[in-house]
Amino acid sequence: MALPLQVQAEIVGREPAGAYHRMVLRAPGIAARVEPGHFVAVAIGGADSAMLLRRAFSIHRADPAAETIDVVFAEAGRGTRELARLRVGDSVNVVAPLGTPFPLPAEPVSAVMVAGGYGSAPMFALAEKIVADGGSVAFVLGAATAERLYGVDQALAITEDVVVTTDDGSEGVRGFVTGPLPEVLTAVQAGVVYACGPMGMLRAVTEVATEHDARVFTAVEESMACGVGVCMTCVLPVVGDDGVSRFVRSCVDGPCFDGTKVRWDDAGTIPADIEGAAAMGAH
């Protein structure tokens, strides 16, 4: 895994992107280490900030030559509201690259990238890599509304196999990504699906992909206090190679997981068969 760096990054670009903000950060040393699926943890405010916890964002693009990384983010709460206020020339403290990136196919493969909202952020660099390695890609990009889609143009620049869905039908097919997904999987004879978006979507995509005999890798979004593996706040029940389920940290063991190993239905509970559940009975 790439060793993360902690650096003060200058904001060198800012632009609105539909319902989101795109922010380009000059972060010396980081871009060259980034692989698709890595994330960056951004501090909110300086030494006197009341918000202690870093916010995690998928790295959208990394440009080693320019020493920049990009993120695409939604204004979701206090912290992202602060970030949205920053201007070019301001700086933020970042730690990156973090997490386990998407596994890359060892051989050329037909891949389908499925994403909800800003979940598409890490997908374009990944798709370009797969194509460069001789594989092919298709996209299924969904969102609640048209303005919450991100990167349809970027997808179209890579492939013409781009299907768009919106919950309200304001762009593309009305409904969820899982509507057109089976057809796409069949059409491109997909060997692997990469997905990023809300938990419910990841679960559904995992099901559909499995039915179609495709491997499926999902990038999850769990609440993270540290982002570096020390606090144990970000855990998900995941089945290990030994068949034993454990609460594993989505910040270091994820955020990219084999979707079939994640016990989606059990997230937010203590499954009786998870390692160490018995010890919880006592107190």
Partner: protein, 340 residues
């Protein structure tokens, strides 16, 4: 994962790298920062707080574990524990709540896998232990005898006492005494035993005194304050565990007060004088100095690590500079200086 998909990382590979570029190398001289916890002499007073640094491995990506006084491990229990359901945390003004539920691999895996790694890396380890019964504490302590790199045992008595309807040990002088006495008796005589105290009591001096009478070689304070956040959208508690522990700079004034009170009681002759490991919201070297002036012989950095993973070494550097700037010849001279 050897089925044609590469890229699944070994996340525990910090050991494969030379000292990471972000490691701050400590300048040699300047001031004597050594501090004594019972029979252990630490080269400097900065440690990680239990539960905020895992078992040292992950943070080795950001600094050399041997550079700080000691790594205090996440609390270890006798058996593997799943911990609580998620959500396990909530951010609060200048702090956070956590409700991890002591997730961990259990003492055996810890002694076999985690401790040796840290020892090989030159780190000094203070092992935090907890159980639901006094016997658990004893068993854990015995298991640690002769384990590599262990320079102290921190008994986390802010955990529920199964025999007493789940009231935490640290809420009561008698149950605190029982645990500390048993751990002290069971431990290697050369390994100091620290009692980790909860601030959620009417008189922390009474608990501290009971622990010292039971043979504690030092006191770690404070653990988190019991708190809670309700999500105003779902209109339910945010944490799956309903309540959680409040930590971070928000609680620092409470922590400094606890350290000051207990150190004052020691100076007053109300109890024997033992070193205090101060913690609660330490963010800068000046915050660490505040605890030392209040009476702490060492400090732990906890929640702030989540904000700044290299905080322990930064704080050590800032503390050194602050002591020098104030004309102290040694760390020791500053301990309890606010009581003069």
């Amino acid at each position: 994962m050897t089925d044609g998909y590469g890229g699944f990382a070994d996340n525990d590979d910090a050991g494969d790298f030379d000292a990471p570029p972000s490691t701050i190398m400590l300048p040699g001289g300047g001031i004597d920062l050594a501090t004594r916890l019972g029979s252990t002499l630490l080269p400097n007073p900065v440690t990680t707080a239990s539960g905020c640094a895992g078992y040292g491995k992950e943070l080795a990506k950001f600094f050399e574990p041997a550079a700080i006084g000691a790594v205090v491990t996440k609390t270890i229990m006798p058996y593997p524990r799943s911990g609580r359901a998620t959500p396990r945390m909530a951010e609060t003004p200048s702090g956070m709540l956590n409700s991890i539920g002591l997730q961990g691999p259990g003492i055996d895996a810890f002694v076999e896998r985690d401790l040796p790694w840290l020892a090989a890396r030159g780190g000094r380890t203070i092992v935090s232990i907890a159980g639901g019964h006094v016997d658990d504490f004893v068993a854990l302590t015995e298991r640690l005898k002769g384990a590599p790199g262990v320079v102290g045992i921190e008994a986390n008595i802010s955990c529920p006492n199964v025999a007493n309807r789940g009231q935490v040990f640290a809420c009561n002088p008698a149950t605190s005494y029982d645990v500390i006495r048993a751990v002290r008796d069971a431990a290697d005589p050369l390994v100091p035993v620290l009692a980790k105290l909860s601030p959620d009591v009417t008189s922390i001096v009474d608990i501290a005194r009971a622990c010292v009478e039971a043979g504690a070689d030092g006191l770690s304070m404070i653990n988190t304050l019991l708190g809670m956040v309700i999500d105003t959208d779902t209109m339910k508690p945010v944490l799956a565990g309903v309540t959680g522990g409040l930590s971070g700079p928000a609680v620092r004034p409470v922590a400094v007060r606890c350290v000051h009170q207990v150190h004052a009681a020691m100076l007053d002759g109300q109890m024997a004088r033992v070193p205090i490991v101060g913690m609660g919201g330490i963010r800068t070297g000046l915050d660490a100095l505040e605890f030392i002036l209040a009476g702490a012989a060492a400090v732990s950095v906890g929640t702030v690590i989540f904000n700044d993973p290299s905080a322990p070494v930064r704080i050590l550097d800032e503390l050194r500079a602050a002591l020098i700037a104030r004309g102290f010849g040694s760390l020791e001279a500053a301990i309890g200086y606010a009581h003069r």
